[in-house]
């Protein structure tokens, strides 16, 4: 079965059939809306990335602190034994 269909138009396309859809101000409005939306998405993405980085830093600092605490505890136990 073919993937396309051929339709024959007996008449030429209407002389001013396209005028109904010609609206440059609407195209401009849609463009401005999309530009605004893209800016918002970019800002949110940037904030999200910053949030992730901050969270990672906090996690690393906490883990480091916990490890420091543990090693100091072990050291103190060792020193008390000796």
């Amino acid at each position: 079965m073919s993937k396309h269909e051929i339709r024959l138009r007996r008449q030429k396309f209407g002389a001013r059939g396209s005028d109904r859809f010609r609206n440059y101000s609407e195209v401009l409005q849609r463009h401005e809306r999309e530009v605004r939306l893209r800016k918002i998405i970019r800002v949110f993405t940037f904030l999200f990335i910053i949030m992730i980085v901050v969270m990672l830093i906090v996690i690393v600092v906490r883990v480091e602190k916990r490890m420091d605490k543990k090693s100091s505890q072990i050291e103190s136990i060792n020193s008390s034994r000796s």
């Binding site: 073919s2 007996r10 396309f13 396209s18 859809f21 849609r30």
Partner: protein
Amino acid sequence: MSASTESMTEEEILKENELVERSRNDSRAFGELYEKYFDRIYYFLLRQTDDEEIAGDLCSQTFVNALNSLSRYAFRGLPFSAWLYKIASNEVNKHYRKSKGKKIFSIEEIKVRELVDRSDEDWDEEIIQRLLTYLKDLPTDMLQVLELRFFEDKDFKEIAFILDMTESGAKMRTYRALDKLRKNFSIKMKYDE
């Protein structure tokens, strides 16, 4: 208005590119391009959808997309319309992917008659029907090339750009389709000269 295109001289292409450059910062300049090419893109889309509403929507989307990515437009020595045709072609493909329907090619009878140089007495309904059956059996990519070449009057360089292929690939595809057409119909094509 029918969507026939006139070929542009190198000077006209360069002049048009100045307008494109201005359009990057001036929406009024882009308005001139919109007015110039709206009909051609609309009828190109109408030929591929056979639905005025869908063609109108896709046409608006084409120009919105063009405005959105105008900063990325790179001049390649081709008319600005080639870039618009490329965007429109992508929009049509997207539309058919979404709707999962069969791709439609709506062809005006007068264009089919223009394609084949044949004296009027030999030209009858049966030949038109046979020609349509032949076009229906062609692979879609071959038909796309034929459409741009003969119904939109695009040269091979532009076709290659619009369909993302090499110029020699576009030529080969067209000539292969035309060879088949000549064999099947033993008729002289308008473009044989």
